[in-house]
Amino acid sequence: MSEPAAPPFAAVEELAAGEPVAVGSSAPAGIPGRARSERIQRAVAYGAMFGISLLFFVPFLWSLSTSFKPLPETANFSLLPHHWTLAGYRAALGDYNFTRYMGNSAVLAAAVTLTSVFLAAVGGYAFARLRFPGRTILFFLVLGTLMIPDQLRLVPIYRMLTVFPLTHWNLVDTYQGYWAIRMVSATALFLMRQYFLTIPRDLEEAAKLDAAGFFKTFWRVMLPLAGPALAAIAILEFQGTWNDFFWANLLLQSPQHWTLPVGLAQFVFTYRTLWNSLMAATMIALAPVVLVYLVFQRYFVAGVASAGVKG
């Protein structure tokens, strides 16, 4: 899902922060008729916003409500359940194994996020600050990987993980295989490098006088300054892995390895009409991402916008 969508990083971050932005209709005050037309315009905008945001909220609210309905009620045309029940959640988490899928998703998302953030920071620091022969070429190689779509990698990766080169490991249907191919992303490394480039050099110079090693400079000086970039990448990678269907569906084949999206898809295939359980499982899949979004909205939008768009 990482396209090289040349990211308007600064602009988007500013937007996410809710800063005042340039507004198309800002005309100088004092022009006759201005106040009236402004009021009409504003009323239209509010109307449109509420109408359209209903379009964006109702599907989720409807599904949320269904997840608390007993099964026979799910065919009813009512926004709220008549009898509130957790039966859907109990069935999803108990009978249909979503506890297991949730655990798998959490473990994989955590592993990928940790390694990706760390490796992107280390690599990004090296590309931003350390001088070594071939650095430019290697960096272009990193950028080049952004152009390789997952859909091209499907067959060769599947084959490689079936019979790994040289070692002949079979890594299909293992957590390790899934984690290995997502261990670090070019987008994350690129964002880290860009961020490190914005940090003034004086701070490191001071550390160098202290004769701190390169790793110490990185660990003690640079990393603590890179908080916002680390947060944006952590959120990006967490969301990407938690939501990933493409690779999880391809690689994690046996039910005990399924993640939430794969479990959801399989549930749809088998028990399509158990709507309350299906919607409960869907809400479980949505909850962490929504929570992260509400808490870290600013980093979230910045990170997602720089990663491009999902298919």
Partner: protein, 302 residues
């Protein structure tokens, strides 16, 4: 965002005290990420082309066939159907995403209250996983579902070859609109405000201002969003797979190119043919990427 490539010779010798150690540390720091990128990106790309020149079964290569897999694709009615569906989907979803994204961007760019809230609301569907969104769509579009009830219909949206692909189109236009909104917002910010001041003095209303000023000045934005949207659309898989249990049904109406790659590789174990289809898709996507980078890469990167 600047891709500040250092203006130094690629293999220039820098004989400074500690330079050797710095280089060693540099290599150590990039070693693991570079290994991942080479092993799981660069090598697979070459490997895909290699596999595509073989008749390749589940246990390995059965014989070299040259470019035959590509001619097989050309004549394969299923692949042609997949291409047709993918193009049809792209042709519909791209303008929808763009129009919706622009509408949302213009709305939340107004100086009104709760702007941040609305921006968050419009972006909301883009947060969710494709599986969760598709599950919700299957529920809302089932025969007793909300959509049928609201419009008084009894349609079996995902079971009818006439409506299955359009339903996925609508679903994804809705999901991705928030992302397109972000790109359009960034483009809207780039328009200088004094243009509007002049227009307002000339007595142009908001509607005229939008069509005469905003829309034409957004040209680079339209182009950027269009390319991003096209590339994304050609990769359509998750929704089609989940809606049809991976069959691309009903009646192959949701059979997309990536679904073809997946099924040919995993279900039919024809890895050579699947790899060839992957290469074809890659070439098409790559062309769009090049166009995008040619227009924007330099601008944003230099």
């Amino acid at each position: 965002m600047a891709i500040a490539v250092p203006k130094r010779r690629l293999f220039g010798r820098t004989r400074q005290p500690g330079a050797g150690r710095e280089a060693l540390v540099g290599y150590a720091f990039v070693a693991v990420p570079m290994a991942v990128f080479v092993l799981f990106f660069i090598y697979p790309m070459i490997y895909a082309v290699y596999i595509s020149r073989f008749d390749w079964g589940i246990l390995g290569p059965l014989g070299k066939v040259g470019w035959k897999n590509y001619t097989t694709l050309w004549h394969d009615t299923l692949f042609r159907r997949a291409v047709k569906n993918t193009i049809e989907y792209t042709v519909w979803v791209v303008p929808l995403q763009m129009a919706l994204g622009l509408l949302l961007a213009v709305i939340v760019n107004q100086r009104i209250r709760f702007r941040t809230f609305f921006r968050g609301a419009f972006y909301f569907p883009a947060l969710a996983s494709s599986a969760a969104i598709t599950a919700i769509a299957i529920y809302l579009l089932n025969v007793d579902g909300l959509v049928n009830k609201v419009f008084g219909l009894h349609k079996l949206w995902f079971y009818d070859p006439q409506t299955a692909l359009p339903a996925i189109t609508g679903l994804n236009a809705w999901t991705t609109a928030g992302t397109m909104m972000l790109f359009y917002l960034a483009a809207l910010q780039a328009i200088p405000t004094d243009v509007y001041e002049a227009a307002a003095i000339d007595g142009a209303g908001p509607w005229r201002q939008f069509w005469k000023i905003t829309f034409p000045l957004l040209k680079p934005g339209h182009f950027f969003v269009a390319v991003v949207s096209i590339i994304g659309a050609m990769k359509i898989f998750d929704q089609a797979y989940i809606v049809s249990r991976g069959t691309g049904g009903p009646d192959y109406s949701t059979y997309t190119v990536v679904l073809y790659i997946y099924n040919t590789a995993i279900k039919d174990a024809q890895l050579g043919l699947a790899a060839a289809a992957g290469v074809v898709l890659f070439v098409v996507i790559f062309l769009f990427t090049i166009v995008q980078w040619a227009f924007f890469g330099r601008q944003e990167a230099a």
